[in-house]
């Protein structure tokens, strides 16, 4: 079975894999290069659990034709922490009980990161909007919104 070569950057590291025609980015990330942080929830862009950043913008890996990220930078939740050092978003998700089963969490974190990278001091409405494509069946969203707002404050403090 012949496959298509694909090179891209994943969390800062160069990756080169062969992908089957029509493969989505989620499958390539999970099976191709072994990054299990983005999850499968629907395969149709409805749940947001596979949210990653492509060139800094939020994308649904399951709806992204893998070969279209050729030469681009893909970031997943695996990029957030540096060894034991966590991103403020991760700290705040822990402190505010913003995860229960944890399945939506990596996608939720990346949707939040996309927001904070663009709007460092978002309003509550902006937070709600930013995660409106990410479904969480456990928390009822409030702890997540609180955590993201808190993370924005802490990131601001760290940057300042």
């Amino acid at each position: 079975m012949s496959k298509t070569p694909l090179q891209f950057r994943l969390n800062g590291a160069e990756k080169a894999v062969f992908v089957e025609a029509g493969s989505n980015l989620l499958d390539v990330l999970r099976r191709g290069v072994g990054d299990m942080t983005p999850k499968y929830g629907c395969g149709q862009g409805a749940c947001g659990t596979c949210t990653v950043l492509v060139e800094g913008r939020p994308r649904l890996a399951c709806l992204t034709l893998a070969e279209t990220v050729s030469g681009q930078h893909v970031e997943t939740a695996a990029s957030l922490s540096d060894g034991p050092d966590l991103d403020p978003l991760q700290d705040c998700f822990m402190e505010h009980f913003a995860a229960q089963c944890g399945y939506c969490t990596p996608g939720m974190l990346m949707a939040a990161k996309a927001l904070l990278d663009r709007h460092p001091a978002p309003s509550r409405e902006q937070v709600v909007e930013a995660i409106s494509g990410n479904i969480c069946r456990c928390t009822g969203y409030e702890p997540i919104i609180t955590a993201i707002l808190d993370a924005a404050t802490r990131r601001g403090r760290r940057a300042g």
Partner: protein, 589 residues
């Protein structure tokens, strides 16, 4: 203002227990949260296997259909296809989940062979190198279907001439202990109350559609051959040992050959208790000698995944002018879909919950677990209770409207109080519905009138309210009944026009002495009841309310929202607390 339920609860129960604990009531971190926020928590699908194969099912497009022929010849030759799995490949192709605790009949194949009884029921499975190849091969399987008449409503399934959904249950109804067509609750004698002409009778019909649990992670499992002739299985199940036992039974394997790994579940909410992915994946690993993944996509999760089942409830109350409910009758239908799964148990839980958190001296309930050609139903949060609670609370509002009472005051008036006898012959204890209503009214700015604002769960319960009334039974002293030879029909006298249950007799006329149930031996529902020695008649069902103003209460309503004069507090003087107290006896019921 935020409502801190922990603080609220601590206040109420401060005399009863020490809530100043290090962990309980304190904000805490989940022990698994670091894995969650770093994305390192390993869900079943996060375990990578070299050479993983993908299994996908060929599913019935019909509610009810006979399988004439399955043609897999084209699929077998397609690229990447490693194996086509049919019913004949399943070593012991019939099971029911609760057979593991010896409850119910085996009624469900892993892969259907003769007929399918709901849309999405699997009739074959394809194992291929990639998911896409498995999908293409599934699409190439040709099944010659003979569509059969389907029934999609529980009451229609009980009507004469309804198609038989599941041959294991020829009357379309689950038969408890192979004898009883329904769960039964009898307390007092509702018929004699309904015959009184000084009471208002309020009837209602309530129903709930199925609800999908919709976990974010779809159901699935990966199985692989392991050393020592075992199979390892990573699964999303919520019930690891149910899944292991089910797999061992269907595949006729000793459970010692199965190594199940689970516990990290991407949301379940009840929908992953009865999964059948594990036996399919292990079967795939047995047949191919390779790791096999069996995973639902979102469409399958929604269509094939077992939801909370549909329910329909008929309620009939007899209500006194002051709002006291003196009799309540239920007839309930659980739509369990095509196979039992956990619905038989849900019906028991529902019946055990009646008549809701209210002291009603005469209660009567018949609850049926009915088979239809809908997706098999299973557990979901509040399993067995949510549907009937919806019905009960809607009905409370309706009663309030019909007798011209405030709906919260009606609930306060009828609420269980400590020491009251419940329909299940247990004394109510640790009651707090009245106080809960007080707090809810206060928070909502909802005015409550006297005497309701002064009522308490701690006072005026027990005494005559603790009595077990004379209970009407069937003529032979039993409250159960054997399955009928003819299809079951709904009982009278609730709304829908219907004939009486063939084998359930109405209570005999009042004058005749009747057997009285002994609460100590009472099993309360479903079971044959031993006739107790004749005992003196218990006191009249219920005392008159204590110094209660007549129902001109509406006018007396205060202008400002209810506010309690002093916080509700529990004391050790509470009736019943000595009897039920003790270190482990403080469970909330």
């Amino acid at each position: 203002m935020t409502i801190n339920t922990v603080e609220m609860r601590k206040e109420y129960f401060r005399d009863e227990r020490d809530d100043s604990l290090n962990e309980v009531g304190q904000p805490t971190r989940r022990q698994d949260i670091l894995g969650h926020v770093t994305g390192r928590s390993r869900f079943y699908d996060d375990h990578a296997f070299d050479g993983l194969l993908h299994m996908r099912c060929v599913r019935s497009p019909h509610h009810h259909a006979r399988i004439r022929r399955i043609d897999t010849s084209r699929a077998e030759g397609m690229p990447g296809v490693r194996r086509v799995v049919l019913a004949a490949d399943v070593p012991r192709n019939l099971n029911t989940l609760l057979s593991l605790i010896n409850f119910g009949r085996d009624d469900e194949p892993l892969i259907a062979h003769a007929k399918t009884a709901y849309i999405g029921e699997p009739v074959a499975a394809i194992i291929a190198e990639t998911e896409g190849q498995a999908r293409d091969a599934v699409a190439a399987v040709r099944v010659d279907w003979e569509e059969l008449p389907a029934v999609l409503d529980a009451e229609e399934a009980l009507a004469p001439g309804a198609p038989v959904v599941n041959e294991a249950w020829p009357h379309n109804v689950f038969e408890y202990h192979d004898k009883y067509t329904h769960q039964k609750l009898r307390f007092g004698d509702v018929e004699s109350i309904f015959r009184r002409n000084d009471l208002r009778v309020v009837e209602g019909r309530y129903q709930m559609s199925p609800i999908e649990q919709a976990p974010t992670e779809t159901c699935g499992a990966i199985a692989a051959p392991e050393t020592n002739d075992r199979y390892v299985c990573h699964t999303a199940t919520q019930a690891l040992f149910f899944s292991l036992g089910t797999t061992a039974k269907l595949l006729d394997l000793p459970s010692s050959r199965l190594h199940f790994i689970g516990g990290t579940v991407g949301g379940g909410f009840g929908g992953k208790v009865d999964s059948l992915h594990e036996p399919l994946a292990v079967l795939g690993a047995m047949l191919t000698g390779r790791p096999v993944k069996c995973m639902w996509d979102r469409a399958e999760e929604m269509q094939v995944g077992a939801p909370r089942g549909a329910e329909r409830w008929y309620l009939k109350d007899a209500v006194a002018a002051d709002g006291r409910i003196l009799a309540r009758q239920f007839r309930g239908y659980f739509d369990c879909g095509a196979y039992t799964r956990l619905s038989s148990y849900a019906v028991q839980k529902a019946t055990a919950h009646l008549p809701g958190p209210y002291t009603i001296p005469n209660v009567h309930a018949d609850t049926y677990c009915v088979f239809t050609n809908r997706t098999p139903a299973t557990a979901m949060r509040g399993f067995g209770v949510t549907g009937v609670d919806f019905a009960i609370e809607c009905h409370m509002d309706k009663v309030a409207e019909e007798v011209g009472m405030d709906p919260i005051e009606l609930r306060i008036l009828n609420a269980y109080r400590d020491g009251d006898m419940k329909a299940h012959r247990r004394l109510a204890k640790n009651c707090a519905l009245i106080e809960c209503c007080h707090v809810a009214a206060e928070k909502a700015g909802w005015p409550l009138a006297e005497p309701y604002r002064s009522m308490s769960s701690l006072r005026d319960g027990g005494g005559e309210r603790a009595a077990i009334p004379q209970t009407a039974t069937d003529e032979d002293g039993r409250v159960g009944s054997a399955p009928p030879k003819t299809p079951i029909r709904p009982t009278s006298p609730l709304p829908r026009p219907a004939a009486p249950m063939p084998s359930v007799r109405p209570a005999p006329p009042v004058a005749k002495p009747r057997p009285v149930l002994d609460p100590a031996q009472q099993d309360a529902y479903g079971q044959p009841i031993r006739e107790a020695p004749k005992a003196p008649l218990p006191p009249s069902p219920r005392p008159e309310p204590v110094a209660r103003p007549e129902p001109s209460l509406q006018a007396a309503k205060p202008a400002e929202p209810y506010k309690s004069a002093e916080p509700f507090s529990r004391g050790t003087k509470r009736p019943g607390s000595g009897r039920f107290g003790g270190l482990s006896g403080m469970r909330r019921r």
